[in-house]
């Protein structure tokens, strides 16, 4: 409605407006409750199902020599070590690239054309679906080494493609907030630009960078699809990144789920160490529990490092 050049909204009674307000408040409160439900449900399922098989034996043995549902029931050690190796390699690849790119964007090309372009490309890279990253790593290595080149390193390359954008963004942010005065003070004392960056800027933003890296690790450690394609899985402990398939936790969970029920004869079921038909589901839930614990642990450590070590005064 327009009156004398003024735009006014339709006139509603106070009653009706209050009613709307209350209705929306209730709706918004209920969405908050709704959002909590899935997390509680998932954690509850994982903990209750996973605790059956989650014991010290499970954590310290691999799957070599394990047959169906027979004793010994095997464990997840090869998957844990594989995950650690692949993730550490991916970190070693992505952190230098990510950190130096962030340094370039913040210190040398702040606001310039190249910086905007790189920023755009980083955004595009962050949107790569995880399975496409796995396909790329597979395609890259099979181009140079022939088809069927599947090992831990290929998986690490796939994961690093997913990690780099996150690392760049968080490093960029941390470097950005270091006040200009600090840098200028350093220049005034005669330090070169590289010295300033290394000794002043990086050192003061180190906790933020470390926590950003840890959170990026927590993100990729649960990626299944690229590792399914790029790294495969094996039953024994393979610590060689460049030779042969390497198991990893998320792929382990998926494989156990996909293999289904085990066959157990009646006599085997009644034995002292019984044959368990549902053993693979138990292993899948237990491995899922291990994975969730690792991810939560990394998250907490990341936050803790930031909280404990971040400089509160600058």
């Amino acid at each position: 409605m327009q009156r004398n050049g003024l735009i006014t909204s339709p006139i509603r009674s106070l009653r009706s407006r209050q009613y709307h307000d209350h209705a929306m408040t209730i709706l918004i409160y209920s969405t908050a409750c709704l959002a909590l439900l899935p997390l509680i449900a998932i954690l509850w399922s994982t903990i209750s199902h996973g605790s059956t098989r989650f014991d010290w034996y499970f954590l310290t043995h691999n799957m070599k020599g394990v047959v169906g549902g027979l004793y010994p029931y095997g464990g997840v050690l090869n998957a844990i070590l594989g995950t650690l190796l692949i993730t550490i390699t991916a970190t070693l690849i992505s952190v230098p690239i990510g950190l130096f790119t962030a340094i370039y964007m913040v210190e040398y090309a702040h606001g310039g054309v190249i910086s905007t372009m790189i920023s755009f490309l980083v955004d595009v890279m962050s949107g790569i679906p995880s399975i496409v990253a796995g396909l790329f790593a597979y395609a890259l290595f099979s181009f140079f080494f022939g088809p069927g080149c599947i090992n831990g390193f290929v998986g690490a390359v796939a994961l690093s493609i997913l990690m780099i954008p996150t690392v760049i963004r968080s490093c960029e942010q941390m470097l950005d907030i270091v006040p200009r005065d600090l840098r200028e003070a350093s220049y005034a004392l005669g330090a070169t630009k590289s010295r300033t960056i290394i000794n002043i800027v990086l050192r003061s933003s180190l906790p933020g960078i470390v926590s950003g890296v840890l959170l990026a690790i927590a993100r990729v450690i649960g990626e299944t699809a690229p590792l399914l394609i790029a790294s495969g899985s094996v039953s024994f402990t393979n610590l060689n990144l460049f030779n042969g398939r390497m198991s990893s936790l998320p792929v382990y969970v998926y494989n156990q789920y996909a293999e289904g029920m085990a066959v157990c004869s009646a006599s085997a079921r009644a034995a002292v160490h019984p044959c368990i038909p549902g053993i693979r589901m138990e292993r899948a839930w237990a491995a899922a529990l291990v994975l969730i614990l690792i991810v939560l642990f990394l998250n907490l450590i990341g936050r803790f490092i930031s909280h404990r070590f971040s400089v509160s005064h600058l």
């Binding site: 047959v67 088809p147 050192r203 094996v234 289904g260 029920m261 034995a271």
Partner: protein, 383 residues
Amino acid sequence: MNQHHSQHLLRMILSCLIIFFTLSSAGCGQNLGNNIPSISLPKKQKDAVALSGNYSGAGASSQQSAIQTWIVGFNELQPAVNLSYDPSGSGAGVATFLNGANVWAGSDIPLNNEQLRNSETICHGHTAFDLPDYAAPIAITYNLSSYGLNAKHLHLTAQVIAEIFNGTITNWDSPQIKALNPSIASQLPDLSITPVWRSDKSGTTKNFEEYLAAAAPHDWTKTSSENWSYQAGQGAKGTSGVIQTVLQAEGTIGYADAAQVTSGLGIVAVHVGTNYVLPTDIATSNALSQSTILPSTTGRVIVSLPHTTTVANTYPIDLVSYAIACPVYTNNSKAEFVKQWLTYIDSVEGQDAAHMTSGSVPLSHNIRTKVMETIQSIRVVAS
């Protein structure tokens, strides 16, 4: 303050890394004390050449359980050999065999002509052979537990099965099903049928479709392939996916490796001759004995199952899976390994061991004889 904090942080990170690496190098976590009954362990032969090294195979996931057992059993004969099998699927397994990455492949279907041609490179001028090493019945399983029908075996003919799975028959109380099951006709519910099939490429699908095409040609008109041909019902990934889907709801019916069907689900008795046959070991064994082996001059042993048999107590819906290897090698130890490995897995002991842990059916005598003939022909040539 700043410096102190950063140094402290760096020290923490370093110590964490060191702990990680020591943990990772500590222990290889091998499982000991397997429960494989000693009766199925292979007899040690006095003149068997001692082997060592790493050998790997890849291929069909249907054989996976059996191969896990065979690896453990083979390690009793040859403790210094490190074996691994990657259940990456028949297609991928054959591909890695053809490019030399694996010593043998497991496949649910025999090699096609193109793969045979390509094998001449890796087999030094000769074509590779396929030997059956795993046979199991394919059970048709359904879930009508709250109607009390899971314990009673539904009687179905090939025609009715074909019509159920291609979506022609849509309800459990349809007249065709009732006519075949007069004793439980009143218990059949007015519930729609949900056929469950394999959404991934599968030898089980191919064998099942081959049976339907042979036994019910009017109702099953599509050519059999590893991908399911119809749309009715739901697709699930892997045998476990099919079983899980059937378990999760009533009114479902699916096909899967009989050994993997969870106890509690219903199993169909298939019409053969004048009676209805369940997928028991004996019935499957009979089917294997009655199967013909396609003639081959290159040592290939390809089994043709008797889908339209009328002999009593024969279960005609089976999966036969093959091991694919070369007949000719330039490396002495490789040839020796392949010979010993194939001899073991197709031996009576090996087949028994697999039977006990994976539910497969031991190969019949006629098939085994042919297989042993081919294995004997493995030889080494100068490169």
